[in-house]
Subunit: 185 residues, 2 copies
Amino acid sequence: MTQERARGRRDPDRRERIIAACLDVIAGSGVAGTSHRKVAAAAGVPLGSMTYYFSGMDELLREAFARFATSVSDEFERAMAAARTPAEARAALIALITDTVFDSHRDLVLSHELYTLAAREPAFRDLTNAWMARSRAALERHFDPATARMVDALIEGLTIHRALDTEPQDPRTVAAAVDRILGGA
Amino acid sequence: MTQERARGRRDPDRRERIIAACLDVIAGSGVAGTSHRKVAAAAGVPLGSMTYYFSGMDELLREAFARFATSVSDEFERAMAAARTPAEARAALIALITDTVFDSHRDLVLSHELYTLAAREPAFRDLTNAWMARSRAALERHFDPATARMVDALIEGLTIHRALDTEPQDPRTVAAAVDRILGGA
DNA sequence: ATGAACCTTGTACAGTCGTACACATGAGTG
DNA sequence: CACTCATGTGTACGACTGTACAAGGTTCAT
């Protein structure tokens, strides 16, 4: 598998570990509170490794969020691909909104951190674009393109409101909203 | 109007100016890049004024985002209150999504910065809660509570996708999505 | 064994940060 | 006038930042 093990690499996947640690630090302290030193400590590597493996903070953040986006994207694609009938697709969507995605606080925080960067810097917007394109493609396995876009937006909004609201989200309202969006198709 | 003009205030609304400047700095550099010095420079006040008017960075950010949230909230409420018939409400919603809200890049960036803070810190989640509660209340002038929630979420998602997507949003898709959500009411 | 090429690390530097605080300055009161 | 006190400000401090880089290790081909 992962045994390219290039030339004399003493710690072959140190780079990966740094990226993973970077996401942990971001989830805990936000992009604002993320520093080379904190990430190095979290990854268990010396500070010098930071500048060796990454040209700078920007590269580190870009790679970390790229990994995050594709991993969330993968999960979504898998869930939608598993659905075989329209009814299963509907159920998968509702489950995705009410449970899985952002079930962990971590994913919620990381998503928003990424959105925030994407809102300002084009380099990160490329990541969110790719993410959204994959989501739409996954939805188009089951729905027409226009409906796919609507569903994608609805998921986004419901998920955010679920995360940012104090009172819990009513699953029946979620199901009803999905049905209304799908119903018109 | 604003002439409380307490005791010998030499610069009566300096506090307001600092808050406004803070939002500008955040919009331009992000919360991560916002510092007392940058805000002071943007507001045209000496650094010492920062610690004089605000107990610390947290208080400054909280007040700045509180002001931002209520101002966006005000605009939304006004737009919904202006609608007299269901048809007008529908049109107002579509206009809100495709034009007004987040028309300026500034509002988009600030919203996401706030969401990001809210995702991590309860103090900021209070702001987003109040914001969402007001939005729902404004929508309930025209729609039943469940529909209001759905519409609110849909607006959120469509707005975000519009902002973070490269290809432009099709207004007809937006209108169709709104109609589907409203249609089931 | 020799050397080249890469991997790894500790430390140093210049800069920015939040915050504190002693001092100046003005307005209001008597 | 002088007295009081909130308002306003310049500067200094320690902590932390990103980044550079010289020095030391390890691996591999020769």
